[in-house]
Symmetry: C2
Subunit: 339 residues, 2 copies
């Protein structure tokens, strides 16, 4: 294992220490707890709180989206492991401003169970909560049982929409409604070409042959739907796009935002080459692309590969997508309209 880290068992705490060292003027830990990060940006009274939680090792997912116009708080666990429900409950309490808190997170067993317990716990403090599970990965279950699908990079769009809705001081019900509508329009799928190594394990999480690519793999190394011989970027884009379009049909005149997400070790050059094909295919369908997102949004440490996310827009969703957001790790201020 060749990682620029210190003690493997301190990987998460050391990472969070780095976040606070760099961005302590705009992010803060709840009572110094390195597993509960809160926004330090100015926030309107009465705003509905938007929080998430998940395992570490996916930066900028999850911690990186705490900030203005996105998340108010995030609890993280160990690498690829859910944080405890008690941490989630503390975070929810800290992010409630009297109008409730939306718990918006990926559809993973541990996170779901713990968030359920946390929401029950804060009910005793009369804090109103709602849970929305993100399950955008089309490869992880068939359409008929889409509620079993995993949440991947589509979470970023969900945070963006929910955060913008909350910033407009919408009620918890309204925030949930528009977030659910956004999620109905978001689909993702990924490929991996090399695994990552868990710091405390020191060995790759899975193996991929020298000449192979795994289609539909999860960001924790969950097996994909198929292992193929290594493919060209264009062919890879076609495979992912076909599967997504099968689930989210698009027709001429539709408008989408496209996210190409590097899983950690995939150069920007490769993401752009892949994107060129997605753009070509969507253009041929008469589909317009608005505010593409290229870069690293939900990684698996040094895994290589990428995922594709499509987010079909309507006028309201587009407005919420373009509402200004800034966290130390994400902003749309250099995207969208040119000012």
């Amino acid at each position: 294992m060749k990682k620029l880290i210190n003690e493997p068992k301190n990987f998460v705490d050391d990472t969070v220490r780095g976040i606070i060292a760099a961005y302590g003027d705009r992010l803060q830990l709840l009572d110094g707890d390195p597993r509960i990060l809160l926004s330090g940006y100015p926030t309107a009274d009465k705003k509905v709180g938007i929080v998430t939680a998940g395992g570490s090792g996916h930066l900028p997912m999850f911690l990186g989206y705490v900030g203005k116009g996105m998340l108010d708080g995030c609890a993280v666990g160990n690498v690829f492991a859910s944080p405890a429900s008690s941490k989630m409950a503390q975070m929810i309490r800290a992010c409630d401003r009297g109008n409730g808190v939306l718990c918006l997170f990926g559809n993973y067993g541990g996170d779901k169970l713990n968030f359920e317990m946390a929401c029950e716990e804060v009910e005793f403090d009369d804090i109103k909560t709602e849970m929305i599970l993100v399950s955008d990965d089309v490869a992880s279950a068939p359409k008929e049982s889409s509620e079993r699908r995993r949440g991947v990079a589509g979470l970023v769009y969900a945070y963006k929409i929910a955060g913008a809705a909350a910033d407009r001081l919408w009620s918890l019900e309204q925030v949930c409604q528009v977030t659910r509508r956004a999620l109905a329009n978001i689909r993702s799928m990924g490929v991996a070409t090399s695994p990552c190594i868990l710091p405390e394990v020191g060995k790759p999480t899975f193996e991929i042959g020298e000449d192979e690519i795994e289609i539909g793999m999860g960001i924790h190394g969950e097996p994909g739907i198929e292992v193929r011989k290594m493919m060209r970027a264009d062919q890879t884009a076609d495979v992912l796009l076909d599967r997504i379009l099968d689930d989210l049909p698009l027709t001429e005149g539709d408008e989408v935002s496209v996210m190409v997400n590097g899983l950690g070790a995939t150069p920007l050059e490769e993401q752009l080459i892949f994107y060129a094909r997605v753009h070509e295919r969507l253009s041929a369908l008469g589909v317009k692309i608005y505010m593409p997102h290229l870069g690293e949004y939900a990684t698996s440490m040094e895994m290589s590969g990428l995922s594709l996310t499509l987010f079909k827009l309507d006028p309201e969703l587009k407005e919420l997508l373009q509402a200004p957001a800034q966290t130390p790790f994400y902003t749309n201020l250099n995207k969208g309209e040119i000012v």
Copy 2:
């Protein structure tokens, strides 16, 4: 070789096609030439032009800094190879608005030779040019012959300062003066833990042992000053920081911007762990950090490792650093003061 690309020989053109597909509303090619990228952002008349050039394979360096408040144009060559002088000359002509053009680039033989020829060529069109070579890599030559040093991630700060000065409609002389002052205050050094593969070659550019780290390596795989047994992040930070501080002494009350630059495959988590140590060391010296930059700024495709850059600020340089800049690949709008 496992890259998500199409024909290896089309790597650069396909990448640029992706850039235009994604950002064609704000960037444009000069007469459709995929090797000459120009800003499409609104630009003031009479602004001094700021241009650069270099090899491909380092995104976001170089193309990624074309935009508002940074570069007006960038010419790129093949992977790790300088573009032809004729391309540079065309770019300079396109970026001149009557007040001259600053050619700001890394200190590499090919780029220097070609820019010299290009500047001579445009002299016939009465275009005033200045060349400033960036040589921030302290590992690449001793202090006494610092003019031989290579240019690495410090280029980003140089683009930022020159771009902000030009945006204020300063004269070419004034822009050069402040850029030179900035460069006198910028130092970098990097380490590599794994090589990258050139698309058309298909083999790693160099070898590093399973348990080794190369100190002071260049972003094209230029040999470093020392190969060591793999080190912890803290120790690595100390090695780079000590060498940089030896060259750029800092004392209590000084203010610096710090850039931790992932070389391509290094997770954000590791960059943050490394940064925590840099922050700790500088804090112990009484040095303040302003607007840290963490992420990928000058890569070597899928090389793993990172570089550290320190930029010592004075009030004017700080103001120019914080002047708003936005390109599709870079912005400081989510850095600096919180609005």
